[in-house]
Symmetry: C2
Subunit: 356 residues, 2 copies
DNA sequence: TTGTAAGCGTTATCAT
DNA sequence: ATGATAACGCTTACAA
């Protein structure tokens, strides 16, 4: 009752297994009457062909691995959503592997994904955002890519030839910085981000370059790195506020850090943006949760996921795809930089849907 | 080079495939010299056994399906994290299926998970939170449970005998309500939640019961349902504030709704908690992101994930497990209900880790 | 239109 | 300690 196979169906229908297989896959004409007989039995036993056996034969599993560093950062679930939306109707299914940026976990999961014979892999974070990725880890991924199609999302590996899909982070940081400058700010700080991660260094480079283009420059004591957490934003903001001279605006490495910055500013009785303006990065749901809402750079996370998985699909089907796909970031202006902005006029349309 | 099998290894090592299998699995003694020879070839070709073939034979895939309604609600990633942490070292891998509460997607994914021969399924949201689940959908899950171990997380199906792991939501809502009453509130509203979802009705029942126990009662015009989004919180709060009489506190169905409520209160120049106190539910990262931080009920999401997956593992190993595992919710008091609370004294220890 | 048999890449059961 | 060989459950030539 529990483990029905094509043989069981075939026997009871008094046909051969090939016939059962044919009605299952519509791969060749079957007499209507026998088809009915088989179909009835499939229904009766709720028969479902074993995907392992099929995949073993066809060398295709309809399965994709997604490797991400942190599922608790809302950015990644959004990317996942985009990926899933793009491939849902094709019947693909996803192994979600979260690595916490731990290289060991990454390697472990990559091996597991290979063993499970995934058709392709989307790789985010971890070693591909490292300023100096250990050569053996880069090599590991290269080797794997010779067997399984891999798309690097928002990352890169030096001297490699992976297919990549990414947001132009440099441009994003430029947009953020220029926005603050356009608002009249001349003294701007930078908060958050691990110094060995390219997501940090890219932004800093663009930040300083944009300042320079506008005849301004950064101040070392206002460059307060750390990590990508709320707690980091809080702590660094405390430090910033303790300085004899303060900037009038800060650009944060991501939305999480921005939340911490806003929180601490509030605790010190500062008004945002009047006393200090704040810009974030990612445009996650957190940006819509703060008071005031956060001006930030959208990474178009869902589109990023969709696009990445489409590229991967092309690769799986051995079609030609361009190596690099770049998405343009978008500046989302909200009330953490522009006072008196009409809430309804903000880019919060997502929040304006009817609710039951 | 790309598709090496045990046969290839065996041939080149001049041994039989069984010997290769033996060194692979350590399932029987092998002469040291031949083991070395085989190992060298495995290394040389970076051979990795095909999991499909192995699973086909062993009838175990080391794979678990997790069905959730919405990965963009931080609660679910937290549950996922707990599940993954508990099973990572055992080499399990997870199919993440997000259904958007769409019953069709649910059925589709359930079929796929069966086809992929997952060892077990964690089911959250959707049909198991329905006040009136369509019988055929309940039946579908029951049927599947006869073939694959399933654990219902934070949900139930009437007249069924699934294994379940859940938070005592009734108790949670009671804690929240009593907290407000203890603070002196006598006029309390309820905001958010779809009326056909048990996550809503359970809370409302506990809310009204707790009011009654304290000699209070709810007011129909202050019971403003809807859905579980920020936008809903915003809109319902607008409506509430437009009433001639307002409550002094509101209990929201979840953190998302709370965020909207706080946002709108702020826009109306109200101070929280002085003018209106707010309590949420879930204790997601959003609760730590609002200003002021949100008093909320912790569902102990990570533990929930861990526990669920442990129960599932017992089921997979055909061990006896108690049918129901209940977790006690925890009230997290923050500044959206208690003014002047020292931030450092709050339950935000998670934010206080050093940051590089 | 249908059946037979080989093969997918393993592991397990026998022998030897 | 090692080797043949039969499964596992399916699809697909090739025959009939």
């Amino acid at each position: 009752m529990l483990d029905v196979t094509v043989y069981d169906i075939a026997r009871e229908a008094e046909v051969s297994v090939s016939t059962v297989s044919r009605v299952l896959n519509g791969t060749a004409p079957v007499k209507a009457s026998t088809r009915q007989k088989v179909l009835a039995l499939i229904e009766k036993y709720q028969f479902q062909p074993n995907g392992l056996a099929r995949s073993l034969l066809k060398k295709v599993t309809g399965t994709i691995g997604i490797v991400i560093p942190d599922i608790n950062n809302p950015f990644f679930p959004e990317v996942f959503t985009g990926a899933e939306n793009a491939l849902r109707e094709k019947g693909y299914t996803f192994f979600l592997c979260t690595t916490h940026g731990n290289f060991e976990y990454e390697s472990q999961y990559l091996a597991l994904l290979r063993e499970k014979q995934v058709d392709g892999i989307l790789f985010l974070g971890g070693r591909i955002n490292q300023r100096h990725c250990p050569p053996d880890l880069a090599q590991e991924l290269e080797d794997l890519n010779r067997r399984i199609p891999i798309v690097l999302v928002n990352g890169d590996l030096p001297g490699s030839s992976f297919h990549r899909v990414f947001i132009d982070e440099h441009r994003g940081a430029e947009l953020a910085t220029q926005h603050l400058i356009d608002l009249g700010h001349r003294h701007i700080g930078f908060i958050g981000g691990e110094p060995e991660i390219t997501a940090t260094t890219e932004k800093i480079a663009a930040f300083e370059q944009t300042l320079a283009v506008n005849g301004l420059s950064s101040r070392p004591e206002w460059m307060l790195l750390g990590d990508f957490s709320i707690g980091c934003g809080m702590r660094r903001m405390e430090e910033l506020l303790a300085l004899p001279e303060r900037p009038t605006a800060v650009f944060c490495v991501n939305d999480f850090v921005s939340v911490g910055v806003i929180k601490t500013a509030f605790d010190h009785g500062l008004r945002i943006p009047a006393d200090i303006a704040v810009v974030g990065f990612d445009d996650t749901v957190l940006a819509a949760s703060t008071t005031p809402e956060l001006t930030t750079i959208s990474q178009r996370s869902k589109e990023l996921g969709e696009t990445s998985v489409r590229v991967l699909l092309q690769l799986i089907q051995k079609r030609r795809v361009r190596k690099h796909t770049v998405l343009e970031p978008v500046l989302k202006i909200r009330r953490s930089t522009v006072d008196g902005l009409n809430a309804a006029a903000g880019q919060l349309s997502q929040l304006s849907e009817p609710c039951g």
